[in-house]
Amino acid sequence: MEFEDEIFNDGLPKAYYKHNDNGQYVLETNAPWAEKVSCALIIAGNRANLEEIRKAVLAGQKSPLCYYMEMRQMDPGILAKAAGIAVFRVKRHFRPEIFAKLKPSVLNRYTKALRVTLEELKTVPNI
């Protein structure tokens, strides 16, 4: 099965208006092909991006914070607002050596904003 069909089998279907032969507009639940293709591309892109960041974290180039931010589809600005920490500090915390020295009070703010536990925030899943 192709990737597109795989992700579109999962989850609840949406409705689309369709013009039938009698001139009426009816709802149907078949997703158009173009939507499947572009959705698949975007989801595959997001997954690949996340995987890249995970490898960078394991290689010690980025902090796990960066991984979890990407996982929650945020950017530094949104994360800063959610956690109540200035953007420049959030960006600094992407550096692993600085992230390692953070106090628990700061980490707790991130765990609240990202909905992950403290243990999770310190590491990334190593598959």
């Binding site: 992700i7 208006y17 369709k18 507009y25």
Partner: protein, 344 residues
């Protein structure tokens, strides 16, 4: 279509709809006893719009909006149909949740704007960090809420924690606990007057905003961007941007072709209401414009899949958007003339 019980034991019928906000509004009206369809609400609330917002990014891709900003459709439709309604936002999540519970206890069903990413029942393909998804809360259950999400087929359960999170999470288009419900509704609303107001408003939204990113001008702007994108961003990145646009056209609860089919359905109903042939022709024209948008998305998908490389180019995709812009400009100019002749 399933029937559920709301907080005060009154039956609520769950209809599957194409778009979240219009379907929610129509459900709120139906619950109060005014039978009004989703396309009708869409037209009366002046839902149709175009805006290309390159500076608002969702998951690294710019926003292309095909409808009015979240919350506007409900407000306009409720005003024009003469409903007594309440709209509220909150700073404090706790207060927002408390008031939601109180309103539910008072026997209302409540529309909420939520963040699509944090709703627990949403699957991966729908999950993006977008704070304008509308749902209806029917009643409080043990440890959660019973929710009717009209974009999906059936009512679902949602935990209180997840709902609070979805309502108050900061992000692009932060909902800030946006909550709305109707207190009472005029049982015999002035449909004709409301439709005329809605159509006039749509015309000015599409034609008269003096900024290059909104309305018909926005489409032309976008088409230029699309044509230039492979040179500026590289093929892969340009494909991602194109896929982003197609997702806004087809996926985000538009009912297909960027709401154009839904708007055509609105004209179909209005033509019956006024008994006007001109409006029926406009409905056909809108369907044709919708087909044009569909053609654009198919072309885009073929570019992404690299089928027929020679003829499916970014220039062709951009040209199709330009064609849509020209046709829509003619359509709304025509509509302006037709609406003037109508009498409420």
């Amino acid at each position: 279509m399933t029937t559920e019980l709301a907080a005060n034991g009154k039956p609520y019928v769950h209809h599957h709809g194409a778009h979240c906000e219009t379907a929610v509004t129509s459900a709120l009206f139906r619950y109060q006893g005014v039978d009004i369809s989703e396309p009708m609400i869409f037209g009366i609330g002046s839902g149709i719009f175009f805006g290309y917002l390159p500076f608002v990014k969702l998951v690294h891709l710019p926003v292309t909006a095909f409808r009015n900003k979240p919350g506007a459709v409900f407000r306009k439709a409720a005003k024009r149909l003469g409903a007594n309604f309440v709209i509220k936002t909150y700073r404090d999540p706790q207060q927002g949740m408390d008031e939601l519970r109180q309103v539910l206890k008072a026997g209302h069903i409540v529309g909420l704007a939520t963040n699509l990413y944090w709703l627990p029942y949403v699957s991966e393909r729908h999950r993006h960090n977008f704070g304008g998804h509308n749902i209806i809360v029917l009643r409080e259950t043990e440890g959660g809420f019973r929710i009717s999400d009209p974009t999906f087929g059936d009512p679902v359960d949602c935990s209180a924690d997840g709902l609070e999170r979805a309502r108050f999470v900061p992000g692009p288009m932060n909902p800030r606990g946006f909550m709305y419900y109707t207190k009472s509704i005029n049982p015999h609303p002035d449909l004709r007057g409301a439709c005329i107001k809605g159509m006039k408003d749509s015309c000015s939204l599409m034609l008269r905003i003096p900024l290059p990113i909104f309305g018909v001008r926005g489409m032309r702007f976008l088409s230029k961007k699309v044509i230039k994108s492979p040179d500026k961003l590289g093929f892969q990145e340009a494909c991602r941007h194109l896929a982003g646009i197609v997702r806004w056209v087809e996926e985000t609860g538009t009912g297909g072709a960027g709401f154009r089919y839904m708007y055509a359905a609105f004209f179909h109903e209005v033509a019956g209401l006024f008994g006007s042939d001109e409006l029926a022709n406009l409905s056909k024209e809108m369907t044709a414009i919708g087909d044009n948008w569909r053609e654009f998305s198919v072309t885009a998908a073929r570019i992404i899949k690299q089928r027929g490389k020679a003829e499916e180019t970014f220039a062709k995709a951009g040209g199709l958007i330009l064609k849509c812009a020209d046709r829509e400009e003619a359509f709304f100019r025509n509509l302006q003339k037709v609406v003037r002749k109508l009498k409420a």
